[in-house]
Amino acid sequence: MSECRRYLEEFAEREHDAEARSHLASCRECAAAHRAHEAIFRALRESDSGDERWQESVWQRIDQSGSGRLGGRLRGLALVAAALIALVGVAWLFTAGPEGPPELTARVLKGDAVRRGESAHPGDSLRISAKGVGPSEARVRLYRDGVLYWGCGDPEPCTRVGDVLQVTVPMETVGRYEAALFWSSDPIPPSTGELDRDAGLALEAGAGFELHAPIDVR
């Protein structure tokens, strides 16, 4: 085998195939070694192509981040949503008293330590707090890449102390995580499983809605 090393190297480099193959035609030992490695090469290059719609998923992720093809359109929608949120917020101020809308915070935890910045790694947790929810019905939901990842009550309830709602959720996989708070004096529409639709439904129902800045888990 060792005498054939050069030919294996050359085959691995694929830059001198003609010369190597010429030798292999006349050297039984090298030919056997070559065949063995050729089969390994074939196996190493063979794989499934994965999810057939993976490219669509990439664009969805990009669009959800607001920096993609639909960035301009989403920014427009975001302005409309912001205006609606502001209106709902003002309405809430008149109906709920002078405390102002709840404050939503999300902190990345690595063990017990708070991690600075907005990037995180799989296995880190997210501590989500909503202060000032008052007597309203309130729901904290966490979305991963725009899809519901965790919600209060399924399966664990959020811990509510006074008007503070708090929950710690482990982020198991990579993706873009967005914490959202919904609050209303009326029942909050159940989640459809998608951030955009949940936000739309909540706004239509007159519920308050606040979305925390996304946290990328990489």
Partner: protein
């Protein structure tokens, strides 16, 4: 093929058409990125996740792409880093269950179409890849699975090209022995 993808992506980037650039890169290099992730992680769903994340990250970074390397090596570098992150996390979580059980020796009976045999080789290959050191596995996958050149791998890993060549050959020999031991005699 590679040259065509590079030219198409470069032309689109020069027009600041990031969408067309990414489409060209996904079309041209999506399979290679997935193959790299699959061979390094040996977990289909995780490999798919990392492939998608690689292209999302690439899209965000396209305006800053400095053209100091080919798109291909740039993308595969991103993918490799994301794979390392994912592998580290999985190790921390002790979820390294894929390939933890040695596969049964491949039966020599050749059924029609060799499909059973090929599946057996792939399963055994997954096991044998897991037995390699991280450095050897990475080198052989970059060289053989995604067909980067030794200089490209050297630049990516910041390792001397001769050392890369040694790793690849060592890994190939270990794979051959491991597969033989598992009853796969290529």
């Amino acid at each position: 093929m590679v040259e065509d993808v590079e030219l198409e992506a470069r032309a689109a980037l020069e027009r600041n058409d990031f969408e067309a650039t990414l489409n060209a890169l996904m079309e041209g290099y999506g399979d290679a990125v997935f193959r790299l992730c699959l061979m390094l992680l040996r977990q289909q769903d995780l490999a798919e996740d990392v492939r998608q994340l690689t292209f999302v990250q690439a899209f965000e970074a396209l305006p800053r792409f400095r053209r100091q390397s080919t798109f291909r090596t740039w993308l595969l570098s991103i993918a490799r880093n994301r794979c390392l992150d994912a592998a580290k996390h999985r190790k921390r979580q002790q979820r390294w269950v894929v390939d933890s059980d040695p596969p049964e020796p491949v039966q020599k009976s050749t059924l029609p179409g060799q499909r059973v045999e090929r599946i057996g080789i792939r399963k055994a290959l997954g096991y044998c890849l897991a037995k390699l050191s991280d450095a050897d596995r990475e080198a052989v996958v970059l060289r053989v699975s995604v067909e980067l050149s030794y200089p490209e791998i050297s630049g990516m890993l910041a390792v001397d090209p001769d050392a890369v060549r040694m790793r690849v050959l060592r890994a190939l020999e270990k794979l051959r022995r491991c597969l033989s031991a598992k009853g796969v005699t290529p």
